[in-house]
Symmetry: C6
Subunit: 268 residues, 6 copies
Amino acid sequence: DFLSALDDVKPLFGVAEEELSKRLRHGIIHFSPFIKDILEEGRLYINQVRKPESSPVLSVALHGPPGSGKTALAAKMAIDSGYPFIKLISAEDMIGFSEMQKVQQLDKTFRDAYKSPLSVIVIDSIELLLDWVPIGPRFSNTVLAALKVLLGKEPPKDRRLLIFATTTERSVLNQLDLFARFDAEIAVPNVNTQAELANVLRESGAFSDSDQQRAISEIQEITGSTEVGVGIKKILTGIETAKQDQDVPGRFARVMSRAIAASRGSQS
Amino acid sequence: DFLSALDDVKPLFGVAEEELSKRLRHGIIHFSPFIKDILEEGRLYINQVRKPESSPVLSVALHGPPGSGKTALAAKMAIDSGYPFIKLISAEDMIGFSEMQKVQQLDKTFRDAYKSPLSVIVIDSIELLLDWVPIGPRFSNTVLAALKVLLGKEPPKDRRLLIFATTTERSVLNQLDLFARFDAEIAVPNVNTQAELANVLRESGAFSDSDQQRAISEIQEITGSTEVGVGIKKILTGIETAKQDQDVPGRFARVMSRAIAASRGSQS
Amino acid sequence: DFLSALDDVKPLFGVAEEELSKRLRHGIIHFSPFIKDILEEGRLYINQVRKPESSPVLSVALHGPPGSGKTALAAKMAIDSGYPFIKLISAEDMIGFSEMQKVQQLDKTFRDAYKSPLSVIVIDSIELLLDWVPIGPRFSNTVLAALKVLLGKEPPKDRRLLIFATTTERSVLNQLDLFARFDAEIAVPNVNTQAELANVLRESGAFSDSDQQRAISEIQEITGSTEVGVGIKKILTGIETAKQDQDVPGRFARVMSRAIAASRGSQS
Amino acid sequence: DFLSALDDVKPLFGVAEEELSKRLRHGIIHFSPFIKDILEEGRLYINQVRKPESSPVLSVALHGPPGSGKTALAAKMAIDSGYPFIKLISAEDMIGFSEMQKVQQLDKTFRDAYKSPLSVIVIDSIELLLDWVPIGPRFSNTVLAALKVLLGKEPPKDRRLLIFATTTERSVLNQLDLFARFDAEIAVPNVNTQAELANVLRESGAFSDSDQQRAISEIQEITGSTEVGVGIKKILTGIETAKQDQDVPGRFARVMSRAIAASRGSQS
Amino acid sequence: DFLSALDDVKPLFGVAEEELSKRLRHGIIHFSPFIKDILEEGRLYINQVRKPESSPVLSVALHGPPGSGKTALAAKMAIDSGYPFIKLISAEDMIGFSEMQKVQQLDKTFRDAYKSPLSVIVIDSIELLLDWVPIGPRFSNTVLAALKVLLGKEPPKDRRLLIFATTTERSVLNQLDLFARFDAEIAVPNVNTQAELANVLRESGAFSDSDQQRAISEIQEITGSTEVGVGIKKILTGIETAKQDQDVPGRFARVMSRAIAASRGSQS
Amino acid sequence: DFLSALDDVKPLFGVAEEELSKRLRHGIIHFSPFIKDILEEGRLYINQVRKPESSPVLSVALHGPPGSGKTALAAKMAIDSGYPFIKLISAEDMIGFSEMQKVQQLDKTFRDAYKSPLSVIVIDSIELLLDWVPIGPRFSNTVLAALKVLLGKEPPKDRRLLIFATTTERSVLNQLDLFARFDAEIAVPNVNTQAELANVLRESGAFSDSDQQRAISEIQEITGSTEVGVGIKKILTGIETAKQDQDVPGRFARVMSRAIAASRGSQS
Ligand SMILES: Nc1ncnc2c1ncn2[C@@H]1O[C@H](COP(=O)(O)OP(=O)(O)OP(=O)(O)O)[C@@H](O)[C@H]1O
Ligand SMILES: Nc1ncnc2c1ncn2[C@@H]1O[C@H](COP(=O)(O)OP(=O)(O)OP(=O)(O)O)[C@@H](O)[C@H]1O
Ligand SMILES: Nc1ncnc2c1ncn2[C@@H]1O[C@H](COP(=O)(O)OP(=O)(O)OP(=O)(O)O)[C@@H](O)[C@H]1O
Ligand SMILES: Nc1ncnc2c1ncn2[C@@H]1O[C@H](COP(=O)(O)OP(=O)(O)OP(=O)(O)O)[C@@H](O)[C@H]1O
Ligand SMILES: Nc1ncnc2c1ncn2[C@@H]1O[C@H](COP(=O)(O)OP(=O)(O)OP(=O)(O)O)[C@@H](O)[C@H]1O
Ligand SMILES: Nc1ncnc2c1ncn2[C@@H]1O[C@H](COP(=O)(O)OP(=O)(O)OP(=O)(O)O)[C@@H](O)[C@H]1O
Ligand SMILES: [Mg+2]
Ligand SMILES: [Mg+2]
Ligand SMILES: [Mg+2]
Ligand SMILES: [Mg+2]
Ligand SMILES: [Mg+2]
Ligand SMILES: [Mg+2]
């Protein structure tokens, strides 16, 4: 029964892993000790769901600011789980879908997962799946209702399911009465300190030690602060843009300062 | 006539009982004397509907905070009623349904029930059936209208029907002019005191006496209060997570403290 | 012409009377002299419509608090009219209908009535037909529009029509510009005094004289008032529940006190 | 060309006249000199449209309180015009129509009218055609748009059209930017004074002189005022109800006083 | 290429001119020197579009109070342009059209115009095309979006297009972000002074010199002001109505005074 | 693989370039040194995307006031990129499309781009694609959701994509949570100073030196300011209109002054 179920889901398995690997294009840089803590907490939930006496479904929400690495971390955990069924649910694969079609896609993925004894589903960017827009506000009530039900639904006998979901909109999901339905939550942080930023720059290999120091002190000068507070994603793209310029650290400092300002603006 | 009606509904019967048993995975722990009172009040209504001279339809609303055990208690009462027709209506079985399809499903279940001389229907999580979202607010007017009518509709001659419904949203249902249409209501409480929590921990078998005491006193320390105020469901999941950790009582204390804080936040 | 028209509507007639009788399951208890006044006023309108020189259509709204007996009284008047065509329009028979289907059903019933020289139509719970919800507020504009037109529409030559309609939402219908379109209105009262309540208990045969007195004085004690203010329907159901208990008057007092509190809460 | 056009519209003609006559069931009572003024103003517009050198389309709005006789007066004018094409547009003939179907019906009636050299169209109760509800407010934008265009649209060559429209909602139509599109307006008054009321009672033949006086002075006593301010329609229905009672003037006084109170309530 | 394109559009041409002529039923009365200025400004734009080196599309908005003559002036300019393709877009030809059908009609007219080397399109009463209602406010977003795009869209190579559009709702179109998309605007004035009004009366031939003076001075008396401020259209209709009366100047004065009051009311 | 992909997209390529050239009808006038900076920044991003080690998708938003030249500049950059696949997405090609059809068109264009190793897509006037209207506000949530996803979606392996998008509504896109999803932004300025305006007039060849000076000083006189603040597009159209007049600089001054006033009005 276990093996035949496995056969059933194998073709899906490969596809999903490729999709998930694409989310890890820059790997995981350990710019802060929190990164290790997050990955360990993930392993804890992976073990809990393996235990036959524990609840057969467990849902974990990864939340944090834009570009902080939520999707990459969820992908990493899912890939490392070793579960036979792994699947990514993403708005990217539902462009032009009606609300009903999205719900059917969600439902189908869960039904597929129920065919495997052990499954992990990554639901990426819940706010995008919900078509959330702060003006109005607007969102898909149909998709929201389906997510609420699917998070709490018990799998069939002898089937066990772990759900990782990512979102930038923790407080919105709270207001929508969705966030509290997760069994656990993991906060994913920005790159916040100059030391953390230095770690990222070192790993990137694009900066000499002195360039790195110059870039960081120029950022401090422009922004008038030692705080960084930007997602790892923006930093990595900023490095790429800076590399096109003759003055790499100078360009990087200007690009980052703009990102820091934008990030502060949207927070307040 | 009685027997043929019974034959008619038998296949439905089995399915429903299995569905209802799944809601009782952790059984009913008597962590407080109120649990017995609730089950007794349920039996009172079960007896009333049996009486041929009383009204042929009676509806009872079980309301209480999230995870307090409403669904488990309603399932328990329905299974113990001994009525020939028992059926669960749940949003889980209606994912991706249109409003109209939900209403048709509701209507069909009631029509099926009317085929049996004695029936009990459990309507689980009315707020989910209504697609209630506080933002807007939004809800399905079509499903709401159907529920209003079905609660008051008299069964055909010689048919008698008991309805148990569960909800976390008593005051919302009141504003929607639905709650007052129930004939009776039962309040389901959280695990509120340290003594009640100790009862649950003892029953779980996962804590030694000293571990139990340590966990409870650590919770008091972190939350700064002797009040608990968390649903039995969160407590049971918290025990499962804690069991994965080397320091079981410590982990349990941290997980519970977070749950207590979240629970307080959503109340105020 | 008269006879052939009569033939046409006969099959409808029987069905309707059975439906209406179901609304009179507990008969009409004369707990107050107002009940007789109401029935007499009904007879006055029944006579008026019979007169060939008077307007060929007359509409009467019965309004009052929930469970006060509006539907039972309208059913009683319709059955006692002796008119050859009697029909009940109720949301119970339109579960899952679209707005358009409801309008077609309304229209059809009026067209059927126009086939008989003398007809009475009971429109039960207009607010339910309109899918009225105070949140929003929401209601079916399509059904509302149809009702407005049908109330004022003149029957074909030599056809005469009396309409009884019931509602708990007099002021809502007023705001919707529907109530003023009725030609007359009848207010249906709650059971308001201890004397009236005593009349109901006596008629029920479930209480000895001393039990009756004990129940009433316990209610006064719990609620701290001699006012009752509850619909006859809740009282009759309360008696049924109390009869399951060993302490009948005590249980009745508790159940009624809760109903009185709820009734006051919704009024203010 | 004139004659063949006439042939074309003849069958429509008869139907419409019957429909219009039904609106005149109680005739026109000259309870005030204003009634004659109104009918004369109608004749003026009828003459104007006949003149080949004047504008080929003219629209006149009759507005006034509920039941004041707007429809009856418009019907009277249309019937007395002697135009070869006369047609009534009423919500009564559009029950259950979609907005689009209403517009098509409107459009068709105008197209039919354009086939006759001289036509008069009565558009009854514009607010009902628009499904106007003050809550929201709601109304059919599609019907509104069609009316705006049809009022201003020039008929084909050698075709001339007069439009009478009735409404209780002058200020609403103003806000909807519809009222100003009428070429002329006629105000239809209530029965406002005791003298006017006496004229109506005398015409009805249901009151002796002394009964009449008693009724009027009782109304003054109950309402505490000599002002009447009720539509002729309510007065005529009130007389019919009173005739069922043994005490005709007494009943009439009570019924009228209620109507006067209701009328005052809705005005303020 | 030019000639074959011309052939293609010829049948459309005739129809449009007839339609446009109907809008000029009373011709253009030069009651003020502004009228000549307006027509000259129109000719300027007509010349500009003819120039091969200038932008191939130019849009001009005629805006002013109701009945001020916007449509007649746009029709006059279009007819006098001498362009091979002339077309009127009017809500009158789209009664009962869905929003999509309106857009398709708009799009088709522009595509037809693109077949001719030189085209002029008159878009009449944009606010009607948009189904604009101030309550809500409501309007067709679909038609609005199409108009925005069509105004800015460049014709194919060697095709040149002039657009005249009329509206009473300049400030609304501004808020809808439509007005600013016009390349030029022309303000059309009311008949504002007694001298201007006298010019109109003289041209109409319906008044002797003394009647004219009497009418004007009576208007001044009734309105208490020498200002007129009414559209030419209302004045011309008022003359027609007055001609049915024995006292032509007296009637005219009363009708105009009412129009002046209404016009002032809607302005403030 | 590269070549066959190229073959696939060739027919699309030609069409797009023609479409883009039409947006450059007046070329690029270097009225300010900023224009060169903008074009250089564009080249930087074009180089970055070429690099195989950098992120495979990069999106750049060109934002600025109406008519400031955003579309022309984006077209220029795209044409000069030398990428094998170039495509323009514009609301002009989607008149009368449903929201779903727009999304499908967007999706198709991106899929087509993914067939080429290097692609640039110009998304013109995002606010028009979204059917944005400030009243409401209204916008297409479906198109918005698709844009959000498409901006972040990673192309298939070995495919690289650069996106230029233009908008006048930077702050709206920010509120819609769309703007922050762009990797970079370029601000496009108005013609702001008299010196810049003089550069444009000189380039146009329509003004003698003295005419140019006269025009500019007349504008200063009328507007009472030396600030210009108008988009290059309005200035170029203004020159064309002025050329039809005998007094070219005078007419130009009047037209420009009106444009300056309008531009100021909409800013505050
Ligand atoms: N410690 C880290 N944690 C997460 N991602 C990292 C880390 N180090 C490097 N990365 C890289 O940073 C990028 C993070 O982007 P990712 O899309 O996961 O962020 P996100 O938070 O999901 O963004 P968004 O808010 O847009 O959904 C990935 O390319 C990933 O490989
Ligand atoms: N005394 C009890 N009452 C109810 N449930 C109990 C009790 N003791 C143990 N349980 C277990 O606790 C869990 C209660 O979960 P249940 O889903 O019934 O809660 P709920 O209130 O319906 O939650 P929700 O608000 O999410 O609908 C069940 O697994 C049940 O077996
Ligand atoms: N005097 C009475 N008037 C009305 N009903 C009475 C009376 N006496 C006894 N009854 C019984 O009370 C019940 C009244 O219920 P009914 O459904 O008519 O109330 P209702 O006002 O229509 O309720 P709702 O507000 O829910 O529509 C019926 O069962 C009826 O037989
Ligand atoms: N002077 C009168 N003017 C109008 N109607 C009169 C007059 N005298 C008698 N009637 C009668 O009064 C009734 C007026 O009713 P009618 O339906 O025309 O009123 P209404 O103003 O159109 O009402 P509603 O506001 O409901 O549309 C008709 O039956 C008509 O025959
Ligand atoms: N100087 C004038 N300018 C415009 N119209 C004139 C003039 N003199 C006479 N007319 C006549 O006045 C009428 C103007 O009506 P027209 O429908 O053009 O006004 P409008 O402003 O478009 O009205 P609306 O606001 O209702 O669209 C036409 O019949 C036209 O022949
Ligand atoms: N320096 C310049 N930058 C941009 N456009 C220029 C420049 N010089 C001349 N032009 C011309 O000015 C016009 C700019 O119009 P364009 O449509 O690009 O403006 P836009 O900002 O996109 O307008 P809109 O806000 O309406 O979309 C084009 O015809 C272009 O050829
Ligand atoms: Mg992500
Ligand atoms: Mg539950
Ligand atoms: Mg009822
Ligand atoms: Mg009427
Ligand atoms: Mg016009
Ligand atoms: Mg542009």
